[in-house]
Amino acid sequence: MEINNYVHVSLEFGEIEKAHKQFCQIDQLISGGPMAIVKPEMKSYIWLQTADGSIQQVEEEVAMFCPVICRELLQNGLGHSKNCAVLLPERVNPASLGLILDFCRFHQVPGRSNKERKTYDEKFVRLDTKMLCDLASAADSLQLRPVVDLTSRALARVIEGKTPEEIRETFHLPDDLTEEEKLEPLRNMTDDPRIRLLNRLYARKRKELNERKKLKNVEVEEEHRVDERSVDDLLSFINSGDQDSKGVRVTKNKKKSRGRKEQARNSSSNNEAGNYNKESNCLTSGCLNGDTSCGSSPSRNSKLQNSPSAMFSSKLDLDDFDIDDELDPARKEEIDREVEDFARRLNSVWPERIQQILSLGQERRRLGPISMNGNGSLKRCTAGVDRG
């Protein structure tokens, strides 16, 4: 009988067997078995007390459904009067108790179909999140496994698909992971004095720019959600003569959780798994020939910087900043030279570069053809086709 699922929750209790027998007897009384002459008033009640002191009376058969209460009643002989009520665990508050007892009351009745029970269960967990949590906690302390399961599943459905922020909000949890912890401990790459120096220089330059902007009273744009601690400031640093502050926004030096900063264990959507079936792309071979389109203009740099989509916030990376470090002037000079060198090259005229690319391209070997049958790798390619 289905009732077995609910009563035989905790197998340590041999007394459950006894209780079960009692249920059967009561069942017969209720359903009009051979002893049905007994009136319903014969039902016995017991007393339960929750941690806040309030005491409830409940039918014994209902309460016995709970392993913990069952044990208290049978082993310790409690609960038969108001004065020695069964003391329930702290995590059981009156509201949860009420729900639990409802559950027990419903399920301890035999003869219900599986469908009925299932329908009841589905309705039973239609509660707000806080109630579900309290209920799960209470059921766990009363060792009422079915309710723990139901509430856990319901809570899992609440959580499914939510972002960490949303989950935090729903359950009122603290945002206590540090940036580093969210990313996993990294190798400490910043011991290299060259890097520290570079970072310091960038920081200084950025500070200078900030100060200049403050003086000019530029509006502060809201920071992007995604961490674009990018090299936009590097570009402005490189074009250091360019005082134009339009391309750069002032930042708030606030550590913010980066959007999808997670490391490799990136969430796999289903299509990742699905994509393993053979695929190939239209990537036929072909040398770069002379008709590479190079619609470039010398104003490319500024075009990029001033375009609306290039306006993003930059973030000061203070992780590596060590003010107390000694500055080696020779080193500083070297780095300055490096950066200037690069800036010069970066600002060089485009056509020159394209020529380089084109000449390299013509020497480049003909890249291998794609799969014959389109089912992916060339490895399966026979017929002596050049595999480049």
Partner: protein, 578 residues
């Protein structure tokens, strides 16, 4: 949730959340949940094996039962990643053999697997059940023999499209007689002979076998016998589908196929002799998945077959299907979700079949559930793309491969910017996109503006300037993988969007215009990225810094630079490391 919420209930609750995305979210909620989650995580997916190390994995997740690991970048499928690049699984297997005695599943894609690794797997994990090797290489049938011999509870052995060196045909005999647990066996990639008797006996003693994909070496005549022992199959891949015409084969075949009442998927069909196709007609109406991408059958045989598959959800086929065949698909297969049309003769200068954009338009019109498309063709128009976009705003994966690079709209001779623009604008759930044809920076502007859910983008021979790349990097919020070849993208867009790279899994750029100097600078600024300069022509140091690099592979990592790369790969952060 109060602070007294019991941890065991939290753990129990977590057990109902199994998707990687949800698990990742759980771990980022707060310190307590991070701790609880990591201790009970059973399954991990690592999209880039170099983004994290085995040690980090093991330290964080002590209870892993299933590992899914990917190695080489996708463009390795087109031979763009040279031999010896990396993606060796052995360090992972070695580390896990010491720390995960309860490991049950290893799923790999594009990794190098040695026989030594396979042997180690077979002897280290008592409960090992699932081995999936997709597009892997480096092992032989000896390694498979070890797996067969030692994995007592093997349920799944899937060799995908791996390259396996066939040293002996009898590795199948290494499955002990007591092994009856097989549920899935895919040996379709094996080239040489196998022992039929071993195979037959293995199949006969595997009552739970649901998926069986044979290799080409298994002749048609053997299929009736095999299917008779395995009439419970759900997915079946034939071997070579040809034989000297003998009438009894046909009827035996038909009987055998009819006997498989649960069959839902068919594949294989190498060297098809059309006369034997009618043998599968009895199962067509039940088929959900049909892979004819090796089948060189043409209309009307092809038509006749497909028109009977009314419940088809997935169809992979060669372009012999032509526009007319696709129109038939549009009319007959109303449940179609995925269509892949492969080119039968990709290198021929002239089209050999009548497959045009019309075929795809027809399917997009007739199949309301179509959401995944991979389509090779020779011509396209903006109008067709616009129509497809309008018909199927529910498109999720759209990969169009016009065979000749830089092919314009053949009617108007304009670039296909507007067409792809319509796709990204209408298909708001688009997650994967491959571009082809003549394309300017404009198409990237559309993509950056509209493709907010796009996760993977493949680009070749497209764009005019850095602005194109900049649009994508700055606009596509969900972008995880970007692979580019032969486009005029250089330093600026890359440097300007350096931080974006840390939010992505990886970026591949080959035959573009990124300079060596920019790579250096990028690596200095972004210590959490590995910047791999791949140049088979020699170390890049000998050339000026402004010289463009041949191939560039950038990926985020918490494991730092790797040290298992060949001489032609240079990892830029090495300079920075102490």
């Amino acid at each position: 949730m109060s602070h007294s919420f019991p941890e065991q209930v939290l753990k129990h609750l977590f057990s109902f959340l199994t998707s990687d995305k949800d698990r990742n979210s759980l771990s980022l909620v707060c310190k307590l949940w991070y701790e609880v989650e990591r201790r009970c995580r059973r399954s991990v997916f690592i999209g880039n094996c170099y983004a994290v190390s085995p040690e980090i994995l093991i330290r964080r997740f002590p209870e892993i039962r299933s590992l899914n690991l990917k190695g080489k970048p996708h463009f390795a499928d087109f031979n763009l990643v040279p031999e010896g690049w990396g993606a060796y699984v052995h360090p992972w297997v070695a580390a896990m053999s010491r720390s995960y005695p309860w490991l049950e599943e290893i799923k790999l894609k594009r990794m190098v697997v040695s026989d030594e690794s396979l042997e180690l797997i077979s002897t280290s994990f008592e409960h090992f059940k699932v081995l999936v090797l997709l597009s892997c290489e480096g092992f032989t049938t000896d390694g498979l023999a070890a797996i067969a011999s030692n994995c007592r509870n093997l349920r799944e052995l899937d060799l995908g499209e791996s390259e396996v060196e066939d040293l002996s045909s009898d590795w199948l005999s290494h499955f002990p007689d007591s092994c009856t647990s097989l549920v899935s066996l895919n040996i379709s990639c094996l080239g040489s002979e196998i022992s039929f008797s071993d195979l037959e006996r293995l199949i006969a003693r595997s009552p739970n076998l649901k998926t069986l994909r044979l290799s080409q070496a298994v002749p048609l005549e053997k299929i009736p016998d095999l299917l008779c022992c395995a009439s419970q199959l759900v997915e079946f891949g034939t071997g070579a589908y040809s034989s000297e015409m003998r009438s009894d084969i046909s009827s035996n075949l038909e009987e055998a196929f009819s006997g498989c009442e649960r069959l839902e998927g068919l594949s294989g069909f190498w060297d098809v002799v059309p006369a034997y196709l009618p043998a599968v007609y009895p199962v067509c109406s039940r088929l959900i998945s049909l892979n004819l991408s090796y089948a060189t059958i043409q209309n009307p045989d092809l038509d006749k077959l497909i028109s009977q598959c009314h419940n088809l959800q997935r169809l992979w086929v060669l372009d012999y299907i032509e526009d007319t065949g696709l129109q038939l698909v549009a009319a007959s297969c109303k449940d179609l979700q995925e269509l892949r049309v492969f080119p039968s003769d990709p290198f021929g200068p002239e089209p050999n079949v009548l497959l045009t954009e019309q075929g795809l338009v027809a399917v997009s019109d007739g199949c309301p559930k179509l959401q995944t498309v991979l389509y090779f063709c020779r011509q396209m128009t903006n109008a067709a793309l616009v129509t497809i976009a309008r018909n199927r705003p529910n498109m999720i994966r759209f990969r169009l491969c016009i065979l000749e690079p830089r092919t314009p709209d053949y009617l108007t001779l304009e670039p296909l910017d507007a067409g792809f623009g319509a796709i990204v604008e209408q298909c708001k759930e688009l997650r994967r996109l491959s571009l082809s044809g003549l394309l300017t920076d404009r198409v990237f502007e559309y993509i950056g503006t509209h493709a907010k859910k796009l996760e993977m983008l493949s680009v070749a021979f497209a764009g005019d300037s850095d602005l194109g790349l900049h649009h994508v990097l700055s606009g596509c919020e969900s972008l995880r993988k970007l692979e580019i070849r032969d486009c005029p993208f250089g330093d600026e867009a890359l440097l300007a969007n350096a931080a974006k790279l840390e939010t992505m899994r990886s970026l591949w750029m080959s035959s573009c215009s990124v300079s060596f100097g920019a790579c250096k600078l990028l690596s200095q600024k972004m210590p959490r990225l590995n910047i791999e300069v791949i140049d088979e022509m020699g170390p890049p140091d000998e050339r000026p810094e402004s010289c463009p690099v041949n191939k560039l592979y950038i990926y985020r990592t918490v494991a730092g630079p790797r040290f298992d790369m060949p001489g032609y790969v240079r990892i830029m952060n090495e300079e920075a490391a102490p």
